[in-house]
Symmetry: C2
Subunit: 342 residues, 2 copies
Amino acid sequence: MELDERKLKILQAIIRNYLETGEPVGSRTISKYTDLNLSSATIRNEMADLEEMGYIIQPHTSAGRIPSDKGYRLYVDTMMEDKVREVDAKMEMVLQKADKVEKVLKQAAKVLATSTQYAAMVTSPRYKGSKIKFIQLSRVDDKQILAVLVTEGNTIKNRIVHVDEPLDEEMMLKLNILLNSSLAGTSVQDINLAMITKLKQQAGIHSDLVAGVVDAVADAIVTDEDVEIYTSGTQNIFKYPELSDHERASEIINLFEEKQPLSDIVRESEAVGDETGIQIYIGSEAPVETMQDCSVVTATYKLEEGVKGTIGIIGPKRMDYENVVSTIKQLMQELDRLYKKD
Amino acid sequence: MELDERKLKILQAIIRNYLETGEPVGSRTISKYTDLNLSSATIRNEMADLEEMGYIIQPHTSAGRIPSDKGYRLYVDTMMEDKVREVDAKMEMVLQKADKVEKVLKQAAKVLATSTQYAAMVTSPRYKGSKIKFIQLSRVDDKQILAVLVTEGNTIKNRIVHVDEPLDEEMMLKLNILLNSSLAGTSVQDINLAMITKLKQQAGIHSDLVAGVVDAVADAIVTDEDVEIYTSGTQNIFKYPELSDHERASEIINLFEEKQPLSDIVRESEAVGDETGIQIYIGSEAPVETMQDCSVVTATYKLEEGVKGTIGIIGPKRMDYENVVSTIKQLMQELDRLYKKD
DNA sequence: GTTAGCACTCAACCAATGGGAGTGCTAATC
DNA sequence: GATTAGCACTCCCATTGGTTGAGTGCTAAC
């Protein structure tokens, strides 16, 4: 069977209507509120076809139809219009620049949640390919060395390295110079085995320590453990009956607290991400099982070269995709505005 | 009217029963399941008295009684027994020592939530009176100085201080020595105006910078902004019908996400805290309005001198207080075990 | 002071009911 | 051949009314 223009129009009308009302939409509604001038009976026939093709679903006999995941997907891919947002009054998406990036991002999530009425999440930025600005080793006590690492984004990481025997001041100074002269200006990806071997040689008797530091440094940058995910507006899920029965709500809340699954989605989306950086997961498309009834829209933000993270929205499949996408786009611009002119 | 022993016994029976079943308890139940050997009619009379005195409440005519906040309070204060926990199988409260304190604490919250089936929260430790181990200033670039500060608990804080003109290496070294010799070993409370003035004098032309650093240091320690609150087991609230209707659940979820209100409670509890460090808030006793239907049990943990935080449980007023208190106590011991033998 | 007995209240459950929205099918119409 | 009117049918859902059971307060007897 073919998906001719009329079917498309009807499908679009069904989806639009369902997004608005949240109720299964019947043939008569379509017949009345479109400019197709077809009787409900005709619509019914077409709807039966659309159902057979898998674009819509009948929750039960004698109910209207609702879009299936496949239907939503078609809509999102081909039928969605680029809604130009009325930037006026409605949204004051003013992000205040704060001393910490984290604060701005939390703010962004909040704005997003409030403005869309869905749940929002945002990851702290990750530093891929970001260069090392400098490394500072300091002696904490006899057995502990503090390694502080500043990357180009002025992100600071620190790690305590244990040593077996105390190091004197002179040695510390030498190691500091050694590390900085070899590593400053390079990005973590570029630290390879040859480099490490060379470093170790230069360190002489303290090669073990250097190895430890290099490990710690690599670990400090690469490690995901401090990729924090903040959420905002979780309670918005209660606005959507299809998500707020006990079981489902409980699952979602857990999801938001555990964060692991969210992080999975983030990873996924960053891997796939197309040129706009916007990614949409509908129901079972998400790599997380408990999200069957949700849709997720993610976008990758970029603060500066190599420093990026993800911001996203989670809501019911019956989501105002147009609005969400345009809102999220606008927010990205806002973030750019804040950080690009540095 | 007086609260004689019989009334107390009846009240206790009512509360015990209600904690177990969650259903309003009637006179016949009490008559049958206590060793008082009184008929239901007598119990009814007593119950009427208890209600008049404000210890119990009748949700509606022809229902049994449930404890009021006042009733719970009496129970918690005078009738609760120190339940000795069967430490065996039931709970494997094994906390794995991890590299970061935060991890252990998150783990603790999780254990607490799982074991009690309520929601748990934990704050990252705060450093009151903790001594400064050392300070390290490093040059990030011409206008930025990185100040790293290590306290006795091996907690590391850092702050970037902006300077108007570049400092040469020698100056940096001098400042480092100056700061460390004056501040290392002192606790933040002890940094007073006289000390700062002296420091400034010694710094000579760089007094502004020193002031900036001292400010930053003080700020870095005192500031609350990085007192993180982690939660775990939020979804447990769905196990208690009295908390899980949409409105209430929504409010609680929000509470847990905003964290501000939680932090208010924490502050409160730390201010009041008695010798055991355990604090119980029943319903309206909590300083947060949206917690009317909850009870909160908090405890102050102490990792080492001056380094402490709060761990707590949030659940329905119908909470198994005995169990919660004993579980939380046990967890505190476990934390002690982990950190005291350092 | 205690208890048995009784009338009363109220929530909760259940079954029956009827309306409404929507469908699929068929036969007539364009 | 596509479209439409008509109709029987299905299923959800809200309403109703009746019943049950747990519990109470009160009174009178023990």
